[in-house]
Symmetry: C2
Subunit: 353 residues, 2 copies
């Protein structure tokens, strides 16, 4: 570590994303990407934006995109904040709403970037242990604290939350912001976006990386009452005025408009998920019920880490987290049917069936 | 202001970018964009990347782009950090290298985002007054402090710094990071990149927005010794893993490779700048000698704010900063020769020549 880094940089513990391998072609089921291509209308819209205008700055306030998102969710454009992927939106949200001295509640088993943001913002996180079946102990999120971050569905478990549980948490935290991270909501969960006008403390975060098959263009957004959105803009504009480029803006606008295409793809993923769940169960896996585009599975006899490495050797990448309580689980992204056939084939061989 | 914003967000004073008007077509000389289109090879490379792979995350470590930048500058890829525009790179740099309690030195008349970053990072900025002719008082940057940020050429003045002055500042600040912001270096300045291997405290920040005609795709980078780059990566990966999208990566790689194209465009801009300077002088303006793609001009008889508004009414946008010492100046981006004709024509009318 260098003497040039400040105290802040020296205490950070950065996030480690799932690997993006370059050595060979894998069946890539490790970073929850959508196996289906973006809408053809998205590709057309982006292609049309590849022109001499790229010499000009993009719209720093993303007006057209915010208008389209607002229309889609029946909100006002002032209730929409757009960022460079939902990770950036989450980083700005932590920076805007959570106080250094107050504890912010999130689960022990959840998206591991929350812990990194807590560190980034010098928070004192209040880590809440999930129940044994990985359901969320709603009451534990209801005692006074400095804010709540809760993904619905949760990752890496895939478990969804009933809207009544989130309402209870919102009601118990009226003075703090409750971030509901809906990165995976479109694969079977129930969104709390309709609660936004009722709850000034609710911020919903979304991404175009999963449902919209656009991990490659980096667009996420937050929905909430105007006051929260203004706060996010204040922090963002103290950091970087132009976070979304012209091509991403063009693609994101087209994606929001072509929801029909994406609904169909999501439905296919849900069907494959349910089929894969049954096939894994037949191989001796227990699988947490999932409302997302991945499943979280553990085998009765063979250790998850062993299976993870054996799958990798066979050219199938899944995600393994070496951390307490989940070190015998693998998170498996739902791919195409053909990709899941390869997964099951590899598992058959590994498990010697 | 909301009770939901934390103390940090409440004290911020965000940057206000130059306007990106949507109401009508202007001769746009207000945000220092390059008047010439990106290299045709850049547009081809981006077009080829508009495909189904957009469903996948980009390379979070930008290996291919860092390699190309490293080759271009005769550095190692570990000496290159890539960010979402040089504004993001600067934000991360402030977050990584400058301590809250120590004063960071920058000029009173300079890129106004530095003050915003200082606020973002709770620094105590040491504001150094430029000399009357807007040259930099080198010695004032040489007294012990918590770091230095110095643009070469400076904005909005356009004045370049001799390499010996920067060496003196580097030598006087061996224990602190000296950021040299070379956003405009390719329009006639002398880069300090060749000093990187000699000075562990030197970080050079660059952008593809100006010289490379790619303000629309948001790519900037920093060059420095490995230790500084590792620090930037630590902060970046505590904030957002995937800051550069697949399309921007493709375009940036092609831009770095087609330097011959861009050198020619820059040369045209330099010729237009010198010609425009003479024309403005003939109209009664004093013009600060510029090494960048803009000029900073003041009229002997008519107030700059008056001219700024009158130009706007005539469809010509320039930048005006209502702040002490420069409130009688306009910053005028160098456009094409035809655009500068329109500027001079409008000025002729306004000044009643």
């Amino acid at each position: 570590m260098s003497s040039y880094w400040n105290q802040f940089a020296q205490k950070l513990d950065p996030y480690v994303p799932g690997e993006q391998p370059k050595d060979k072609k894998y069946v890539k089921l490790n970073t929850n990407e959508n196996p289906y291509p973006p809408s053809p209308k998205v590709l057309t819209a982006i292609s049309e934006a590849v022109n001499d205008q790229l010499r000009l700055y993009p719209d720093p306030t993303c007006d057209a995109l915010r208008q389209k998102i607002a229309n889609h969710f029946e909100l006002d454009p002032d209730q929409v904040f757009v960022g460079n992927g939902s990770d950036e939106v989450l980083a700005f949200s932590f920076m805007t709403f959570f106080e250094a001295e107050k504890p912010v509640a999130f689960a022990d088993i959840t998206y591991s970037f929350y812990k990194v943001y807590a560190n980034l913002c010098s928070l004192n996180p209040k880590i809440i242990a999930l129940n044994d079946d990985f359901t969320i102990p709603t009451d534990a999120f209801c005692s006074a604290n400095g804010g709540v971050v809760i993904p619905n569905p949760n990752a890496p478990t895939g478990r969804g939350l009933p809207i009544e549980a989130i309402k209870k948490i919102l009601n118990a935290n009226k003075d703090q912001v409750v971030i509901v991270d809906e990165a995976y909501i479109d694969f079977g969960g129930t969104s709390v976006v309709p609660l936004i006008n009722e709850y000034p403390n609710l911020l919903v975060v979304r991404t175009l990386s999963k449902y919209s098959s656009l991990a490659g263009i980096r667009v996420g957004f937050a929905l909430g009452q105007k006051d929260l959105i203004r706060g996010l803009n204040t922090v963002k504009n103290s950091f970087n005025s132009y976070t979304i480029d012209r091509l991403a803006l063009a693609g994101a606008c087209a994606a929001i408009e072509d929801d029909a295409y994406y609904r169909d793809q999501a439905q296919k993923i849900i069907v494959t998920r349910e089929k894969t769940t049954k096939r894994l169960q037949a191989l001796g896996f227990s699988v947490i019920p999932s409302q997302s585009n991945f499943i979280f599975a553990s085998h009765s006899d063979v250790n998850a880490e062993v299976i993870f490495h054996a799958l990798r050797d066979q050219g199938v990448l899944v995600r393994y987290f070496k951390q307490p309580r989940i070190d015998n689980y693998m998170r498996i992204t739902i791919g195409t049917d053909a990709e899941m056939d390869k997964l099951v084939e590899a598992l058959n061989e590994i498990l010697d069936n």
